[in-house]
Protein backbone atom coordinates (compact mmCIF):
# COMPACT_ATOMS: atom_id res chain seq x y z
CA UNK A 1 0.00 0.00 0.00
CA UNK A 2 1.07 3.57 -0.61
CA UNK A 3 -0.37 6.17 1.70
CA UNK A 4 -0.90 9.67 0.33
CA UNK A 5 0.80 12.34 2.42
CA UNK A 6 -0.98 15.57 3.30
CA UNK A 7 1.61 18.24 4.00
CA UNK A 8 0.90 21.73 5.31
CA UNK A 9 3.26 24.19 3.65
CA UNK A 10 4.24 27.25 5.66
CA UNK A 11 5.73 30.17 3.76
CA UNK A 12 7.92 32.24 6.02
CA UNK A 13 9.16 35.81 5.92
CA UNK A 14 11.40 36.82 8.81
CA UNK A 15 9.71 35.53 11.99
CA UNK A 16 6.25 35.29 10.44
CA UNK A 17 4.03 32.88 8.58
CA UNK A 18 2.93 34.66 5.41
CA UNK A 19 0.83 33.82 2.39
CA UNK A 20 0.39 35.53 -0.92
CA UNK A 21 -1.32 34.90 -4.20
CA UNK A 22 0.80 33.66 -7.11
CA UNK A 23 3.63 33.66 -4.51
CA UNK A 24 3.35 37.47 -4.32
CA UNK A 25 1.61 40.11 -2.14
CA UNK A 26 2.51 38.44 1.12
CA UNK A 27 0.19 38.76 4.10
CA UNK A 28 1.29 38.03 7.65
CA UNK A 29 -0.87 35.29 9.15
CA UNK A 30 0.86 34.49 12.44
CA UNK A 31 3.76 32.61 13.95
CA UNK A 32 4.92 29.57 12.02
CA UNK A 33 5.56 27.55 15.20
CA UNK A 34 1.96 27.99 16.38
CA UNK A 35 0.53 26.79 13.09
CA UNK A 36 3.08 23.97 12.89
CA UNK A 37 2.13 22.69 16.36
CA UNK A 38 -1.58 22.69 15.54
CA UNK A 39 -1.00 20.91 12.23
CA UNK A 40 1.14 18.32 13.99
CA UNK A 41 -1.62 17.66 16.51
CA UNK A 42 -4.18 17.41 13.71
CA UNK A 43 -2.22 14.67 11.93
CA UNK A 44 -0.02 16.42 9.39
CA UNK A 45 2.17 13.82 7.68
CA UNK A 46 5.10 16.21 7.23
CA UNK A 47 5.69 19.97 7.22
CA UNK A 48 7.28 22.24 4.64
CA UNK A 49 8.92 25.54 5.62
CA UNK A 50 9.64 27.78 2.68
CA UNK A 51 11.59 30.98 3.27
CA UNK A 52 9.96 33.31 0.77
CA UNK A 53 12.58 36.02 0.68
CA UNK A 54 15.83 34.14 1.25
CA UNK A 55 16.40 33.73 -2.43
CA UNK A 56 15.63 37.40 -3.14
CA UNK A 57 17.89 38.90 -0.48
CA UNK A 58 20.34 36.01 -0.35
CA UNK A 59 19.84 35.51 3.35
CA UNK A 60 18.69 32.64 5.47
CA UNK A 61 16.84 33.43 8.66
CA UNK A 62 15.07 30.14 9.15
CA UNK A 63 17.42 28.19 11.40
CA UNK A 64 15.97 29.45 14.73
CA UNK A 65 12.44 28.64 13.63
CA UNK A 66 13.51 25.18 12.45
CA UNK A 67 15.23 24.37 15.72
CA UNK A 68 12.28 25.51 17.85
CA UNK A 69 9.91 23.46 15.69
CA UNK A 70 12.04 20.30 15.63
CA UNK A 71 12.20 20.24 19.45
CA UNK A 72 8.48 19.83 19.64
CA UNK A 73 7.27 18.25 16.44
CA UNK A 74 8.14 14.70 15.52
CA UNK A 75 7.34 14.45 11.85
CA UNK A 76 9.66 15.20 8.91
CA UNK A 77 10.32 18.85 8.15
CA UNK A 78 11.41 20.00 4.69
CA UNK A 79 13.06 23.40 4.49
CA UNK A 80 13.68 25.51 1.42
CA UNK A 81 14.54 29.03 0.40
CA UNK A 82 17.89 30.36 -0.71
CA UNK A 83 19.92 27.17 -0.26
CA UNK A 84 22.86 27.44 -2.64
CA UNK A 85 25.71 25.30 -1.36
CA UNK A 86 26.28 21.96 0.34
CA UNK A 87 27.22 23.97 3.43
CA UNK A 88 23.83 25.78 3.32
CA UNK A 89 22.09 22.39 3.23
CA UNK A 90 24.23 21.05 6.04
CA UNK A 91 23.38 24.07 8.20
CA UNK A 92 19.64 23.59 7.75
CA UNK A 93 19.88 19.83 8.43
CA UNK A 94 21.94 20.48 11.56
CA UNK A 95 19.28 22.94 12.73
CA UNK A 96 16.79 20.05 12.69
CA UNK A 97 15.39 19.82 9.15
CA UNK A 98 15.05 16.33 7.63
CA UNK A 99 14.94 17.34 3.97
CA UNK A 100 15.67 20.41 1.91
CA UNK A 101 14.03 21.84 -1.16
CA UNK A 102 16.03 23.65 -3.81
CA UNK A 103 14.93 25.53 -6.89
CA UNK A 104 16.89 28.58 -8.01
CA UNK A 105 20.28 27.03 -7.25
CA UNK A 106 19.29 23.81 -9.06
CA UNK A 107 18.24 25.63 -12.21
CA UNK A 108 21.33 27.84 -12.21
CA UNK A 109 23.54 24.80 -11.71
CA UNK A 110 21.85 21.39 -12.25
CA UNK A 111 25.03 19.69 -11.07
CA UNK A 112 24.02 20.93 -7.58
CA UNK A 113 21.20 18.35 -7.59
CA UNK A 114 23.69 15.56 -8.35
CA UNK A 115 26.17 16.74 -5.73
CA UNK A 116 23.61 17.26 -2.98
CA UNK A 117 21.84 13.93 -3.65
CA UNK A 118 25.17 12.16 -3.46
CA UNK A 119 26.24 13.97 -0.30
CA UNK A 120 22.99 13.73 1.66
CA UNK A 121 21.08 10.92 -0.08
CA UNK A 122 18.26 11.15 -2.63
CA UNK A 123 15.59 11.07 0.03
CA UNK A 124 16.93 14.31 1.54
CA UNK A 125 16.72 16.32 -1.68
CA UNK A 126 13.43 17.78 -2.88
CA UNK A 127 13.56 19.89 -6.02
CA UNK A 128 10.91 22.63 -6.08
CA UNK A 129 9.59 23.22 -9.58
CA UNK A 130 7.61 26.45 -9.90
CA UNK A 131 5.54 26.49 -13.02
CA UNK A 132 3.83 29.20 -15.08
CA UNK A 133 1.52 28.16 -17.89
CA UNK A 134 2.29 30.09 -21.06
CA UNK A 135 -0.24 31.63 -23.49
CA UNK A 136 0.51 28.74 -25.90
CA UNK A 137 -0.37 26.27 -23.08
CA UNK A 138 3.22 25.11 -22.59
CA UNK A 139 4.61 24.91 -19.07
CA UNK A 140 7.81 26.70 -18.09
CA UNK A 141 9.83 26.56 -14.87
CA UNK A 142 10.48 29.83 -13.03
CA UNK A 143 12.79 30.71 -10.14
CA UNK A 144 12.78 33.14 -7.20
CA UNK A 145 9.17 32.39 -6.23
CA UNK A 146 7.91 32.76 -9.73
CA UNK A 147 9.59 36.09 -10.41
CA UNK A 148 12.31 35.00 -12.81
CA UNK A 149 11.70 33.64 -16.27
CA UNK A 150 14.09 30.84 -17.26
CA UNK A 151 12.62 29.54 -20.51
CA UNK A 152 13.11 25.97 -19.25
CA UNK A 153 10.46 23.45 -20.29
CA UNK A 154 8.94 21.70 -17.27
CA UNK A 155 8.72 18.22 -18.79
CA UNK A 156 12.39 18.01 -19.74
CA UNK A 157 13.39 19.67 -16.46
CA UNK A 158 11.59 17.17 -14.20
CA UNK A 159 13.19 14.28 -16.10
CA UNK A 160 16.60 15.82 -15.54
CA UNK A 161 15.78 16.37 -11.84
CA UNK A 162 14.97 12.67 -11.53
CA UNK A 163 18.04 11.59 -13.50
CA UNK A 164 20.28 13.69 -11.29
CA UNK A 165 19.08 11.88 -8.18
CA UNK A 166 16.48 14.01 -6.39
CA UNK A 167 14.05 11.94 -4.30
CA UNK A 168 10.99 14.14 -4.70
CA UNK A 169 9.59 16.98 -6.77
CA UNK A 170 7.50 19.71 -5.19
CA UNK A 171 5.45 20.96 -8.09
CA UNK A 172 3.91 24.41 -7.64
CA UNK A 173 1.50 25.95 -10.10
CA UNK A 174 2.23 29.66 -9.70
CA UNK A 175 -0.96 30.40 -11.64
CA UNK A 176 -3.06 28.62 -9.04
CA UNK A 177 -1.06 29.40 -5.89
CA UNK A 178 -3.14 31.18 -3.24
CA UNK A 179 -6.22 31.37 -5.45
CA UNK A 180 -8.13 28.41 -4.04
CA UNK A 181 -9.37 27.71 -7.56
CA UNK A 182 -8.15 24.10 -7.74
CA UNK A 183 -4.97 22.37 -8.82
CA UNK A 184 -3.71 22.35 -12.38
CA UNK A 185 -4.52 18.67 -12.89
CA UNK A 186 -3.01 18.50 -16.40
CA UNK A 187 0.30 19.73 -15.02
CA UNK A 188 0.32 17.24 -12.13
CA UNK A 189 -0.64 14.36 -14.42
CA UNK A 190 2.02 15.30 -16.95
CA UNK A 191 4.77 15.35 -14.32
CA UNK A 192 3.70 12.34 -12.27
CA UNK A 193 3.50 10.16 -15.37
CA UNK A 194 6.89 11.37 -16.63
CA UNK A 195 8.92 10.48 -13.52
CA UNK A 196 9.14 7.56 -11.12
CA UNK A 197 10.04 9.72 -8.11
CA UNK A 198 7.53 11.22 -5.66
CA UNK A 199 5.53 14.22 -6.82
CA UNK A 200 4.16 16.63 -4.22
CA UNK A 201 1.40 18.71 -5.79
CA UNK A 202 1.08 22.30 -4.60
CA UNK A 203 -0.86 25.38 -5.61
CA UNK A 204 -4.59 25.83 -5.85
CA UNK A 205 -6.22 23.81 -3.06
CA UNK A 206 -9.48 25.56 -2.17
CA UNK A 207 -11.65 22.69 -1.06
CA UNK A 208 -11.52 18.97 -0.42
CA UNK A 209 -12.67 18.08 -3.92
CA UNK A 210 -9.66 19.84 -5.39
CA UNK A 211 -7.38 17.68 -3.27
CA UNK A 212 -9.24 14.54 -4.23
CA UNK A 213 -8.82 15.41 -7.92
CA UNK A 214 -5.09 15.99 -7.56
CA UNK A 215 -4.76 12.49 -6.06
CA UNK A 216 -7.22 10.53 -8.21
CA UNK A 217 -6.77 12.30 -11.54
CA UNK A 218 -3.34 13.91 -11.16
CA UNK A 219 -1.81 10.84 -9.44
CA UNK A 220 0.12 13.00 -6.96
CA UNK A 221 2.01 11.08 -4.26
CA UNK A 222 1.58 13.87 -1.75
CA UNK A 223 -0.31 17.14 -1.47
CA UNK A 224 1.08 20.36 -0.07
CA UNK A 225 -1.55 22.79 1.18
CA UNK A 226 -1.05 26.32 2.45
CA UNK A 227 -3.81 28.97 2.18
CA UNK A 228 -6.71 26.56 2.59
CA UNK A 229 -5.40 25.19 5.89
CA UNK A 230 -4.05 28.51 7.22
CA UNK A 231 -7.25 30.44 6.58
CA UNK A 232 -9.21 27.45 7.82
CA UNK A 233 -7.37 27.70 11.14
CA UNK A 234 -7.73 31.48 11.31
CA UNK A 235 -11.43 31.21 10.57
CA UNK A 236 -11.71 28.72 13.44
CA UNK A 237 -9.42 30.14 16.07
CA UNK A 238 -9.56 33.83 16.93
CA UNK A 239 -6.73 33.74 19.45
CA UNK A 240 -4.17 32.98 16.75
CA UNK A 241 -4.61 36.55 15.56
CA UNK A 242 -2.88 37.96 18.62
CA UNK A 243 0.24 35.89 18.14
CA UNK A 244 2.09 37.68 15.41
CA UNK A 245 5.14 39.82 15.20
CA UNK A 246 4.59 43.29 13.83
CA UNK A 247 6.83 42.98 10.81
CA UNK A 248 5.29 43.08 7.39
CA UNK A 249 1.75 43.49 6.17
CA UNK A 250 -0.54 42.80 9.16
CA UNK A 251 -3.43 45.03 8.10
CA UNK A 252 -5.35 41.97 7.07
CA UNK A 253 -5.03 40.42 10.51
CA UNK A 254 -5.85 43.63 12.39
CA UNK A 255 -9.10 43.98 10.54
CA UNK A 256 -9.96 40.52 11.86
CA UNK A 257 -11.66 39.49 8.68
CA UNK A 258 -11.72 35.96 7.43
CA UNK A 259 -10.57 35.18 3.95
CA UNK A 260 -13.79 34.53 2.14
CA UNK A 261 -12.38 32.31 -0.59
CA UNK A 262 -11.66 29.64 1.99
CA UNK A 263 -13.95 27.94 4.46
CA UNK A 264 -13.01 26.65 7.88
CA UNK A 265 -12.06 23.11 6.97
CA UNK A 266 -9.33 21.73 9.20
CA UNK A 267 -6.69 19.19 8.35
CA UNK A 268 -8.74 16.64 10.27
CA UNK A 269 -11.76 17.37 8.06
CA UNK A 270 -9.60 17.05 4.95
CA UNK A 271 -8.22 13.67 5.96
CA UNK A 272 -11.60 12.37 7.06
CA UNK A 273 -13.24 13.32 3.76
CA UNK A 274 -10.43 11.82 1.68
CA UNK A 275 -10.59 8.64 3.71
CA UNK A 276 -14.35 8.45 3.12
CA UNK A 277 -13.46 8.49 -0.59
CA UNK A 278 -11.26 5.40 -0.02
CA UNK A 279 -8.01 7.30 -0.50
CA UNK A 280 -5.35 5.54 1.61
CA UNK A 281 -4.07 7.88 4.32
CA UNK A 282 -2.40 7.68 7.67
CA UNK A 283 -4.69 8.30 10.59
CA UNK A 284 -3.76 9.10 14.14
CA UNK A 285 -5.89 7.81 17.00
Amino acid sequence: MKYIRIIPRLDIKGPNLVKGIHLEGLRVLGKPEDFAKLYYEQGADELIYQDTVASLYQRNSLTDIITRTAEDIFIPITVGGGLRTLEDINKVLRAGADKVSINTAAIKNPEFITESSRAFGSSTIVVAVEVVKQPDNSYLAYTDNGREYTGIDVLSWVKEVEYRGAGEIMLTSIDRDGTGSGFDIDLIKMVSSAVQIHVIAHGGAGNINHIKNAINDGHADAIAISSMLHYGLINQEDNLLNKFNDEGNIEFLKKNVSFKTFGSESLIDVKQSLSDEKIPLRFIA
Binding site: M1, R5, S123, G167, Q196, H198, R282
Partner: protein
Protein backbone atom coordinates in the same frame (compact mmCIF):
# COMPACT_ATOMS: atom_id res chain seq x y z
CA UNK B 1 24.06 8.90 30.86
CA UNK B 2 20.88 7.11 29.80
CA UNK B 3 21.46 6.87 26.07
CA UNK B 4 24.53 7.12 23.85
CA UNK B 5 23.67 8.09 20.26
CA UNK B 6 26.55 6.73 18.20
CA UNK B 7 27.98 9.45 15.95
CA UNK B 8 29.72 8.19 12.84
CA UNK B 9 29.24 11.33 10.72
CA UNK B 10 26.45 9.85 8.64
CA UNK B 11 23.13 11.16 9.80
CA UNK B 12 20.76 13.60 11.30
CA UNK B 13 21.27 12.80 14.95
CA UNK B 14 19.49 15.90 16.13
CA UNK B 15 16.02 14.40 15.81
CA UNK B 16 16.95 11.27 17.79
CA UNK B 17 18.27 13.49 20.57
CA UNK B 18 15.19 15.75 20.40
CA UNK B 19 12.94 12.71 20.84
CA UNK B 20 15.00 11.54 23.85
CA UNK B 21 14.74 14.99 25.39
CA UNK B 22 10.99 15.15 24.80
CA UNK B 23 10.37 12.02 26.89
CA UNK B 24 12.93 12.89 29.59
CA UNK B 25 15.84 10.66 28.55
CA UNK B 26 19.33 12.11 28.99
CA UNK B 27 21.37 11.48 25.86
CA UNK B 28 24.71 12.29 24.32
CA UNK B 29 25.81 12.25 20.68
CA UNK B 30 29.23 10.68 20.78
CA UNK B 31 31.89 8.61 19.08
CA UNK B 32 33.82 8.13 22.34
CA UNK B 33 34.17 4.43 23.16
CA UNK B 34 34.10 4.89 26.94
CA UNK B 35 31.04 7.12 26.88
CA UNK B 36 29.19 4.62 24.71
CA UNK B 37 30.15 1.63 26.88
CA UNK B 38 29.07 3.52 30.04
CA UNK B 39 25.58 4.32 28.75
CA UNK B 40 22.51 2.27 29.70
CA UNK B 41 21.36 2.11 26.10
CA UNK B 42 23.16 2.63 22.77
CA UNK B 43 21.39 3.80 19.63
CA UNK B 44 22.90 3.37 16.17
CA UNK B 45 20.94 5.71 13.90
CA UNK B 46 21.75 6.37 10.29
CA UNK B 47 20.76 7.68 6.91
CA UNK B 48 23.03 7.27 3.92
CA UNK B 49 25.03 4.71 2.02
CA UNK B 50 25.87 1.33 3.57
CA UNK B 51 29.46 1.04 2.33
CA UNK B 52 30.44 4.53 3.37
CA UNK B 53 28.78 4.12 6.77
CA UNK B 54 30.57 0.86 7.46
CA UNK B 55 33.95 2.28 6.50
CA UNK B 56 33.36 5.20 8.90
CA UNK B 57 32.53 2.71 11.67
CA UNK B 58 35.62 0.60 11.01
CA UNK B 59 37.96 3.58 10.62
CA UNK B 60 36.90 5.01 13.97
CA UNK B 61 36.95 1.52 15.59
CA UNK B 62 33.30 1.97 16.51
CA UNK B 63 32.62 -1.52 15.15
CA UNK B 64 34.63 -3.04 18.02
CA UNK B 65 32.86 -0.75 20.45
CA UNK B 66 29.47 -1.94 19.15
CA UNK B 67 30.53 -5.61 19.55
CA UNK B 68 31.61 -4.92 23.16
CA UNK B 69 28.42 -3.05 23.97
CA UNK B 70 26.26 -5.88 22.64
CA UNK B 71 28.38 -8.46 24.57
CA UNK B 72 27.61 -6.54 27.75
CA UNK B 73 23.94 -7.50 27.34
CA UNK B 74 22.67 -3.92 27.58
CA UNK B 75 19.94 -2.86 25.13
CA UNK B 76 21.22 -1.89 21.70
CA UNK B 77 18.94 -0.16 19.21
CA UNK B 78 19.47 0.17 15.45
CA UNK B 79 17.40 2.59 13.39
CA UNK B 80 17.10 2.51 9.55
CA UNK B 81 20.66 2.20 8.21
CA UNK B 82 21.52 1.29 11.83
CA UNK B 83 19.39 -1.85 11.35
CA UNK B 84 20.90 -2.71 7.96
CA UNK B 85 24.51 -2.33 9.16
CA UNK B 86 24.00 -5.15 11.69
CA UNK B 87 23.56 -7.72 8.90
CA UNK B 88 26.17 -9.91 7.18
CA UNK B 89 26.20 -8.06 3.89
CA UNK B 90 24.50 -5.57 1.61
CA UNK B 91 24.03 -5.36 -2.12
CA UNK B 92 24.02 -1.54 -2.06
CA UNK B 93 26.34 -0.32 -4.87
CA UNK B 94 28.20 -3.64 -5.07
CA UNK B 95 28.65 -6.16 -2.30
CA UNK B 96 29.58 -4.89 1.14
CA UNK B 97 30.29 -6.78 4.31
CA UNK B 98 28.27 -5.62 7.30
CA UNK B 99 28.83 -5.96 11.05
CA UNK B 100 27.71 -9.59 10.87
CA UNK B 101 25.69 -9.50 14.08
CA UNK B 102 22.56 -10.72 12.35
CA UNK B 103 22.54 -13.48 9.75
CA UNK B 104 21.06 -12.28 6.49
CA UNK B 105 21.37 -9.72 3.71
CA UNK B 106 20.24 -6.24 2.72
CA UNK B 107 18.50 -5.97 -0.65
CA UNK B 108 17.17 -3.23 -2.89
CA UNK B 109 13.46 -2.83 -3.58
CA UNK B 110 12.53 -4.31 -6.98
CA UNK B 111 8.91 -3.26 -7.19
CA UNK B 112 6.36 -3.89 -9.86
CA UNK B 113 4.02 -0.95 -10.17
CA UNK B 114 0.48 -1.78 -11.21
CA UNK B 115 -1.30 0.32 -13.81
CA UNK B 116 -2.67 3.03 -11.54
CA UNK B 117 -0.29 3.26 -8.58
CA UNK B 118 3.43 3.78 -8.82
CA UNK B 119 5.73 2.86 -5.96
CA UNK B 120 8.68 5.24 -6.00
CA UNK B 121 12.01 4.12 -4.56
CA UNK B 122 13.15 5.27 -2.06
CA UNK B 123 9.95 4.70 -0.16
CA UNK B 124 9.33 8.06 1.52
CA UNK B 125 6.32 8.22 3.76
CA UNK B 126 4.07 6.47 6.25
CA UNK B 127 3.39 2.78 6.37
CA UNK B 128 1.99 0.22 8.81
CA UNK B 129 3.96 -2.16 11.00
CA UNK B 130 2.20 -5.49 11.38
CA UNK B 131 2.99 -7.88 14.18
CA UNK B 132 4.85 -10.99 13.10
CA UNK B 133 5.94 -14.08 15.00
CA UNK B 134 6.79 -13.34 18.61
CA UNK B 135 4.60 -11.10 20.67
CA UNK B 136 5.66 -7.48 21.14
CA UNK B 137 5.34 -7.88 24.90
CA UNK B 138 9.05 -8.57 25.30
CA UNK B 139 10.22 -5.89 22.85
CA UNK B 140 10.34 -2.11 22.79
CA UNK B 141 7.13 -2.22 20.75
CA UNK B 142 5.21 -3.42 23.82
CA UNK B 143 3.36 -0.08 24.17
CA UNK B 144 2.55 0.16 20.47
CA UNK B 145 -0.34 -1.33 18.57
CA UNK B 146 -0.52 -3.73 15.65
CA UNK B 147 -0.73 -1.70 12.40
CA UNK B 148 0.60 1.53 13.91
CA UNK B 149 1.73 3.99 11.22
CA UNK B 150 5.46 4.74 11.20
CA UNK B 151 7.60 6.96 8.93
CA UNK B 152 9.90 5.16 6.48
CA UNK B 153 12.70 6.47 4.24
CA UNK B 154 14.62 3.71 2.47
CA UNK B 155 15.52 1.99 -0.81
CA UNK B 156 16.89 -1.18 0.80
CA UNK B 157 15.29 -3.68 3.17
CA UNK B 158 16.66 -6.48 5.35
CA UNK B 159 16.14 -10.20 4.85
CA UNK B 160 17.12 -12.15 8.00
CA UNK B 161 17.89 -15.86 7.63
CA UNK B 162 16.18 -16.65 10.92
CA UNK B 163 12.52 -15.75 10.57
CA UNK B 164 11.98 -16.04 14.32
CA UNK B 165 13.80 -12.74 15.00
CA UNK B 166 11.33 -10.82 12.81
CA UNK B 167 8.79 -9.03 14.99
CA UNK B 168 7.09 -6.80 12.44
CA UNK B 169 6.50 -6.74 8.73
CA UNK B 170 5.53 -3.95 6.34
CA UNK B 171 4.25 -4.04 2.76
CA UNK B 172 5.28 -1.58 0.06
CA UNK B 173 4.03 -2.26 -3.45
CA UNK B 174 4.10 -6.01 -3.96
CA UNK B 175 6.87 -6.53 -1.39
CA UNK B 176 6.31 -7.62 2.19
CA UNK B 177 9.51 -7.11 4.18
CA UNK B 178 10.90 -7.20 7.69
CA UNK B 179 10.50 -3.82 9.43
CA UNK B 180 11.65 -4.75 12.96
CA UNK B 181 13.78 -7.42 14.57
CA UNK B 182 14.54 -8.51 18.11
CA UNK B 183 17.57 -10.73 18.65
CA UNK B 184 18.50 -11.05 22.33
CA UNK B 185 19.43 -7.52 23.44
CA UNK B 186 19.37 -6.10 19.90
CA UNK B 187 16.21 -4.27 18.85
CA UNK B 188 16.39 -2.79 15.38
CA UNK B 189 13.84 -1.11 13.15
CA UNK B 190 13.63 0.12 9.57
CA UNK B 191 11.38 3.10 10.33
CA UNK B 192 12.16 6.36 12.14
CA UNK B 193 10.32 6.48 15.48
CA UNK B 194 11.57 10.04 16.09
CA UNK B 195 9.72 11.09 12.91
CA UNK B 196 6.58 9.05 13.56
CA UNK B 197 4.62 11.40 15.79
CA UNK B 198 3.25 10.27 19.15
CA UNK B 199 3.15 6.64 18.05
CA UNK B 200 6.91 6.76 17.45
CA UNK B 201 7.54 8.61 20.70
CA UNK B 202 5.86 5.66 22.45
CA UNK B 203 9.00 3.66 21.72
CA UNK B 204 11.18 6.33 23.33
CA UNK B 205 8.80 6.42 26.32
CA UNK B 206 9.22 2.65 26.65
CA UNK B 207 13.02 3.05 26.59
CA UNK B 208 12.71 5.66 29.34
CA UNK B 209 10.46 3.48 31.48
CA UNK B 210 12.43 0.27 31.13
CA UNK B 211 16.05 1.33 31.01
CA UNK B 212 16.53 4.90 32.27
Amino acid sequence: MDVAIIDYKMSNLYSVQAACKKVGISSVITSDRNVILDANVAILPGVGAFGEALSHLVKSKLDECIYSFIDSGKPFIGICLGLQLLFDSSKEFGNHKGLGLIKGTVKKFQLHSNQSIKYPVPQIGWNKITQSGNSWKKSLLRNNHDNDFMYFVHSYYVEPEDDSIVISKTTYGDKEYCSAIQQNNIFAIQFHPEKSGDVGLNIYKTIKKEYC
